[in-house]
């Protein structure tokens, strides 16, 4: 159904949006972290960007694995292994596939979520990436179950991710550097959840044009 060409466009757009939001993400991480999330992610996606040409024409699994390995070896900071694992797990679902279907999409997201939970020993409510990713996944799954098409499903995922980002403002961090601040982390939006949202939004932008 979905050709891997669209994946290349999605990844390219993710990179564009992450890099555009570099300072924003960094400022969020200044408040409750070490002020480098934007720097880390931009470094990672710049490196990914440089590999877009060589990924062209490859299968979904190969592309996602390349993204994973690139992020792992360039991001620096917790988000590297976390997002890297997410992409790596997702890649195993669609290994060798040039075309994928809804089942694959759901499974990739599920694997991404499980990967981050396992790698970060974290879960919803810890004020992390997962507080955007898990609501997004649940909304996506629900939309598909209700028979919605992919574009609608992802729009709903994006909305849920945004709500998740908002939600992270008011809770205490239990994982990552923000957790070192204890109650002082309350009132601040989580950087990782924000970059997750940006990435999901980036998927939508590409789906709309295609």
């Amino acid at each position: 159904m979905c050709n891997s060409n669209i994946l290349i466009k999605i990844i390219e757009n993710m990179g564009k949006n992450i890099i555009e939001n570099k300072d924003y993400l960094t400022e969020l991480d200044r408040a409750i972290g070490d002020a480098d999330h934007g720097i880390n992610m931009s470094k990672g996606f710049s490196a990914v960007d440089a590999k877009l040409d060589e990924m062209s024409g490859k299968d979904w699994g190969s592309i996602l694995k390349t993204v994973a390995m690139t992020l792992i070896s360039t991001v620096g900071g917790a988000s590297g292994p976390l997002y890297g694992t997410a992409f790596l797990r997702a890649s195993t679902v669609v290994d060798g596939k040039m075309e994928i279907d809804k089942e694959d999409i759901i499974n990739m997201f599920e694997q991404a979520v499980e990967g981050i939970k396992m790698r970060g020993k974290s879960n919803k409510g810890d004020k992390t990436i997962l507080d955007a990713l898990i609501p997004a996944f649940e909304a996506l799954k629900l939309a598909y179950e209700e028979g919605k098409d992919t574009k609608i499903a992802f729009k709903m995922a994006e909305e849920a991710a945004l709500e998740g980002v908002e939600y992270t403002k008011d809770i205490i961090a239990k994982k990552g550097r923000a957790s070192y601040l204890g109650e002082r982390s309350i009132g601040h939006q989580d950087p990782g959840a924000t970059s997750t949202y940006i990435m999901i939004k980036s998927i939508n932008e590409v789906l709309e044009q295609n």
Binding site: I72, A78, P81
Partner: protein, 332 residues
């Protein structure tokens, strides 16, 4: 900040160069990476041990690379985990075909990065197992960590697992003795002064002129409490009480003891503290089989000390006594 450095951004790079220049008979560096491995790595047919973590704890961990201890280490920035690809480089450089055991100190970053590297290595067909060291009894679920932190007791794991690997034990057995060591070792520390991370440029925490902090972490993470400094006798008592409360030691049990300097405490004081530790353990009828006093896992220039007690059995004693030849620790 007064340090013997050049640019603060270059401290780890320059330290690694200095280590290799100092110990060419022990160490080699993998290209320009932050990975140091045994000069004779990979050793075919031997389980390989990889460890590491943030820099700033020297001699841990590069000082323990060599015969009978570690095969390779990855060094992160000061007090920062190494990245998965650095660790993976280490794993690949030391893999002798019998598997690799990762010795990981229990800090979120270290666990995440080492486990990521393990997964990548397994994807490349290398068998990787791991043990997580969590010997610090001071706090549970501290900053940086879920559960207990890994501190100086890690060196016992390096030694014992290293000896097991050196004598040809297989990966499951090396892991088994490593896990046994982790289970049997308990530690606790105290600090008198902060340290200064070069990139930060100022002391890692504040402490009064007449105060000590009990249970402080090796990156300066908060401990149990600050209080007025006490004589060595009482410091030993506080630390040992916490340790012994956690271990179930009985009269005539045999232990190994480590009195570890955090960097800024003179060796004279570590020996004074050791005297107290021995007296206290003797009072309880606990037999001390071996003692290590010195700087094993430091925190830059922090003044203070940690005490580790390792409960021994026949196997652990034999592995503890086995020959070792590394820059920072040797047994003939």
């Amino acid at each position: 900040m007064k340090k013997i450095i050049n640019h603060k951004e270059d401290v780890v790079e320059e330290m690694l160069q200095g280590m290799v220049k100092a110990h060419p008979e022990y160490l080699k560096r993998i290209d320009d990476s932050n990975v140091l491995v045994r000069k004779d790595a990979p050793i075919k047919g031997k389980v390989a041990l990889v460890s590491g973590g943030g820099s700033g704890h020297e001699p841990a961990h590069g000082g323990f690379v060599g015969l009978g201890m570690l095969d390779g280490v990855a060094a992160g920035e000061v007090f920062t985990s190494p990245t998965p690809e650095q660790i993976l480089k280490g794993i690949k450089a030391v893999d002798g075909g019998k598997g690799v055991l990762l010795i990981i100190k229990n800090y979120s970053g270290d666990v995440m990065n080492f486990e990521m590297a393990a997964e990548l290595a397994q994807m490349e067909g290398i068998e990787v197992q791991q043990v997580i060291v969590n010997d610090d009894v001071a706090v549970e679920d501290s900053t940086f960590t879920v559960g207990r932190r890994g501190i100086a007791g890690t060196i016992f794991v390096h030694k014992i697992a290293g000896a097991a690997a050196e004598k040809g034990m297989d990966l499951d057995d090396v892991k088994r003795v490593a896990e046994k060591t982790v289970k049997n070792v308990k530690s606790m520390g105290m600090s008198l002064t902060p340290c200064v991370v070069p990139a930060v440029g100022k002391p890692s925490f504040e402490i009064g002129e007449d105060e000590m902090e009990i249970g402080l972490g090796i990156h300066g993470e908060p401990g149990i409490r600050k209080e007025k400094i006490k004589p060595a006798r009482e410091i030993a008592n506080i630390l040992l009480s916490n340790i012994l409360e956690d271990m179930k030691l009985e009269k005539d049990d045999e232990v190994a003891v480590m009195v570890n300097g955090l960097g800024g405490t003179p060796l004279m004081e570590l020996y004074i503290l050791n005297r107290e530790v021995h007296n206290l353990l003797n009072e309880k009828g606990i037999k001390i089989y071996k003692t290590m006093v010195g700087e094993y896992m430091t925190s830059l220039e922090m003044a203070g000390s940690s005490i580790s007690v390792l409960k021994l059995d026949v196997e652990l004693k034999q592995l503890l006594d086995a020959k070792a030849d590394t820059p920072a620790f040797r047994i003939l």
